[in-house]
C-alpha cells in the first residue's frame, strides 16, 4: 500500500499518526485482553503500573501514566509495550492504543532518544521560532538518535523563541545556539546551562 502523503494540511511536522494515512491493520485482534504470562512484561514495569493504578479510585485513570512508563522504558509506545501495559491494567491493547494515539507526547512510531520540541506558535513565531526549528533540523541532520519537531505552544512565550529539549525548557534562543545544543546532546554534556528556564528571574525583578 502506498502511503497517502499528508492529510491535506501543511502540518509542519506536527505529529500525525501515520496509521491514519496508511490504513495499517492491527496485528492481532484488538478485543482480547492479553494474559500476563503471554506478554513477558518486565517486573519493574509491572510494579510501576500497579503502583500507578493504586493511586486512583478507578484503575483506568492510570492509562496515561502507564503509557508514559512504557515510553520511558522503550523510547516510544511500542506495540509490545502497550500489550504489556494492557495485560497489567486488564484493558485491551486497542484501548491503550486509542489513548496513545490521541496525545502528542506519546509516540506510536519509533523516535530518537533525544527529543527536541521547538515552539512555532504565535509568540515564538513572531520572534523567530520557524528559523530556530530550521536551525535545529539542520544541526540534527539525519541523526536517528535525535527527534526534532515543531510543536504547538509549550507555555513559555516569555522565553520566545524557545525549545523543549529532553523535557526541559530553554530560551530565548539564537538560531546559532541550535547547533551548540545539538553538539552538547551528542556529547552527553549539559545543554545550554545559561538558557535554562529555571535560572530565569522574574521580569519585574525582586519584590519592590
Amino acid at each position: 500500500m502506498s502511503p497517502v502523503d499528508g492529510i491535506g494540511i501543511d502540518n509542519r511536522d506536527l505529529p500525525v499518526d501515520r496509521a491514519v494515512n496508511e490504513g495499517r491493520v492491527p496485528d492481532r485482534s484488538p478485543q482480547e485482553i492479553p494474559e500476563l504470562h503471554e506478554v513477558d512484561c518486565p517486573e519493574e514495569l509491572r510494579r510501576r503500573i500497579e503502583e500507578l493504578m493504586s493511586k486512583y479510585p478507578d484503575r483506568k485513570s492510570a492509562s496515561i501514566p502507564a503509557l508514559w512508563a512504557v515510553q520511558r522504558l522503550y523510547g516510544w509506545c511500542t506495540p509490545e509495550g502497550i500489550r504489556q501495559a494492557a495485560a497489567v491494567m486488564r484493558v485491551t491493547p486497542a484501548y491503550l492504543e486509542s489513548v496513545a494515539s490521541f496525545y502528542d507526547l506519546l509516540h506510536t512510531e519509533p523516535v530518537g532518544g533525544h527529543k527536541v520540541h521547538v515552539c512555532t506558535n504565535i509568540s515564538c513565531w513572531m520572534r523567530g521560532g520557524d528559523e530556530l526549528l530550521d536551525a535545529f533540523r539542520a544541526a540534527a541532520g539525519e541523526d536517528a538518535d535525535l527527534f526534532v519537531t515543531g510543536f504547538e505552544c509549550l507555555g513559555a512565550c516569555d522565553i520566545a523563541p524557545m525549545a523543549s529539549i529532553d523535557e526541559r525548557y530553554f530560551g530565548p534562543l539564537e538560531t546559532g545556539e541550535a547547533a551548540t545544543a545539538i553538539e552538547q546532546l551528542r556529547a552527553g554534556a549539559e545543554v545550554l546551562p545559561e538558557k535554562a528556564l529555571e535560572k530565569r528571574p522574574l521580569p519585574g525583578g525582586p519584590d519592590a
Binding site: A62, W68, L105, S123, R127, E152, E174, G204
Partner: protein, 442 residues
C-alpha cells in the same frame, strides 16, 4: 505603576519551593485556620464573599461554582486545572514552579469548602520540570500532615495526586480534562450535567485553575473584605498577566485588575522595539478577539472592560503584535493551532478549523478573492455556539475579529500576491521585522 505581588510575593527566593521556605513566609497558616477553626460552610462563604473569579479563562465566580456541589456524604472530587496550553499563557507554570505549596494549600482549603476527599492536579505533560517540583512539594506536604488522613490532627482527610497529561490542548477544557483523568482520549462531554453535579467518576467535581486556587490561602488568611480592596468591584484581586510577543520584556507581571492596559504593555513589558508601534493585541490569550491598539490600549485591564470592548480577559495573557506583523499570517498561525488541537468530536469545529486554515492559506498565497473573506467570516459564525465545547469558538472569535478589523490587510495580501508578488510556498515567512531588534536576549 509597579506590580502588586500577592501570589508572586517572595517568588524570587528559591527556598520558597520547599516546605520550610514556604512556612518561613507564613505558609500553611491559612490551612491550619481553615481546618481547625472554621466550618466548611464558613470557608465557602468567605470564598463567595471575596468575589474571586476563575483565572482559567471563563472568569466564573469561584465560590459560587463551589457552592453548586451537592451537600452531604458522598465521593466528591476537586481537580486543579494545570493544563495551561493556550498560546500566550504561561502564568500557571510560573506559579507552580516558584510556589508549589501555595497551590497545595489552596487546594486543601478549597477541597474542605467543597467537601472533596480526593484532589488531582492535572498538569500538562510538557511541564515536566514543574510536575517534578509539584511531586516533591506534595510529598513534603504529606510528610508534614497537610495532606493525607487526619490533616494536622483533625478528622479531615484529603488525597492529592499529581497527574501528568500527555500533550493535548483540549484537556484544558474541563470535561475533556475529566475524560483524560479517567484514562480516556480527552474528548469534551455534553453539558449539562455540569461537573459540579456529575463530574469525575460520575461524582460531583469542582474544577479550578492553578491561579484561582493559589488565591485561596490569601483570602482565608486576610478575609474577603481585604481581598476586595484590590482590583475593581467586578474584578477583585490581582492577576498574574503573561505578556509576550513584540515587547521588550516579555514575562509574568502581577498587577491589580483594572490598571490601564497601556501600563502593562508599554511600561511593565517595555512596549515594542525602537521605532515600532503596537498594532494589535490579544488581551486574553490566543482565543480572545484581537483589539486594535487604538481601541484597546487605554482600556482598564479587567474582566468587565474587556467584555464590554467585545473581547475577553480570558486567562489574562496578552500577545502583542507590532506594525511589522502581518495579520493574515497571524490569523493563519492562530487557526493552525486550533485545527491541530481540535479533538474531532464535533463537526463544526473539526471541519471549520480545517477549512479556515485552507482558506487562510489561500489568502496568504494570493489565490483567494475578496469573496473568500466573507466565507471565512461566515464559517467562523457557524462554529460559534455549535459545539460541545468552546475550542472551535476559540479560533472563530480571534480569526473573525482579525478579518473584520483588518479586512484591508487581507485584501492587500490577496491583491499583492495575485500581481506577481512571491507566493508563499510551503512555509509562511516570519514577521517582516527582524526578531533580533526585539531584544530577545534581555
Amino acid at each position: 505603576m509597579p506590580e502588586t505581588r500577592l501570589l508572586l510575593k517572595h517568588a524570587e527566593d528559591p527556598a520558597l519551593r520547599t516546605l520550610a521556605g514556604y512556612r518561613g513566609y507564613g505558609g500553611y497558616a491559612s490551612l491550619e485556620k481553615a481546618y481547625k477553626e472554621m466550618e466548611a460552610d464558613e470557608v465557602l462563604k468567605e470564598l463567595e464573599d471575596s468575589g474571586l473569579r476563575g483565572r482559567g479563562g471563563a472568569g466564573f465566580a469561584m465560590g459560587k461554582k463551589a457552592s453548586f456541589l451537592p451537600r452531604g456524604e458522598m465521593d466528591k472530587y476537586l481537580c486543579c486545572n494545570a493544563d495551561e496550553s493556550e498560546p500566550g499563557a504561561f502564568k500557571d507554570r510560573e506559579l507552580m514552579q516558584r510556589n508549589p505549596h501555595q497551590l497545595i494549600e489552596g487546594i486543601a482549603i478549597a477541597a474542605l469548602a467543597a467537601g472533596a476527599g480526593h484532589a488531582f492536579i492535572f498538569i500538562r505533560g510538557e511541564y515536566d520540570s514543574q510536575a517534578d517540583v509539584l511531586d516533591a512539594a506534595v510529598a513534603e506536604a504529606y510528610e508534614a500532615g497537610y495532606l493525607g488522613e487526619g490533616i494536622r490532627g483533625t478528622r479531615r482527610d484529603l488525597e492529592l495526586v499529581v497527574h501528568r497529561g500527555a500533550g493535548a490542548y483540549i484537556c484544558g477544557e474541563e470535561t475533556a480534562l475529566l475524560d483524560a483523568l479517567e484514562g480516556k482520549r480527552g474528548n469534551p462531554r455534553l453539558k449539562p450535567p455540569f461537573p459540579a453535579v456529575q463530574g469525575l467518576y460520575g461524582g460531583p467535581t469542582l474544577i479550578n485553575n492553578v491561579e484561582t486556587l493559589s488565591n485561596v490561602p490569601h483570602i482565608v488568611r486576610n478575609g474577603a473584605e481585604w481581598f476586595k480592596g484590590f482590583g475593581t468591584e467586578q474584578s477583585p484581586g490581582t492577576k498574574v498577566v503573561s505578556v509576550s510577543g513584540c515587547v521588550r520584556r516579555p514575562g509574568n507581571y502581577e498587577v491589580e485588575l483594572g490598571i490601564p492596559t497601556r501600563e502593562l504593555i508599554m511600561d511593565l513589558a517595555g512596549g515594542p522595539a525602537e521605532g515600532r508601534e503596537v498594532k494589535a493585541f490579544y488581551p486574553g490569550g490566543s482565543s480572545s478577539p484581537v483589539l486594535r491598539a487604538e481601541e484597546g490600549l487605554d482600556l482598564p485591564y479587567s474582566f468587565e472592560a474587556m467584555a464590554e470592548a467585545g473581547s475577553m480577559l480570558g486567562s489574562g495573557s496578552i500577545i502583542v503584535a507590532d506594525d511589522s506583523v502581518s495579520i493574515p499570517h497571524m490569523a493563519l498561525r492562530t487557526a493552525r493551532f486550533y485545527h491541530h488541537e481540535s479533538c474531532g468530536k464535533c463537526t463544526p469545529c473539526r471541519e471549520g478549523t480545517n477549512w479556515t486554515v485552507k482558506m487562510l492559506e489561500r489568502v496568504v498565497r494570493g489565490e483567494a478573492t475578496p469573496m473568500d473573506l466573507d466565507i471565512v467570516a461566515s464559517v467562523q459564525e457557524n462554529i460559534i455556539g455549535h459545539c460541545l465545547c468552546v475550542l472551535g469558538d476559540s479560533m472563530a472569535m480571534p480569526v473573525g475579529a482579525m478579518v473584520r478589523k483588518f479586512r484591508e490587510e487581507f485584501e492587500e495580501a490577496i491583491a499583492a500576491a495575485s500581481e506577481g508578488a512571491p507566493a508563499v510556498a510551503e512555509r509562511i515567512p516570519v514577521v517582516q521585522g527582524a526578531p533580533e531588534t526585539l531584544g530577545a536576549s534581555t
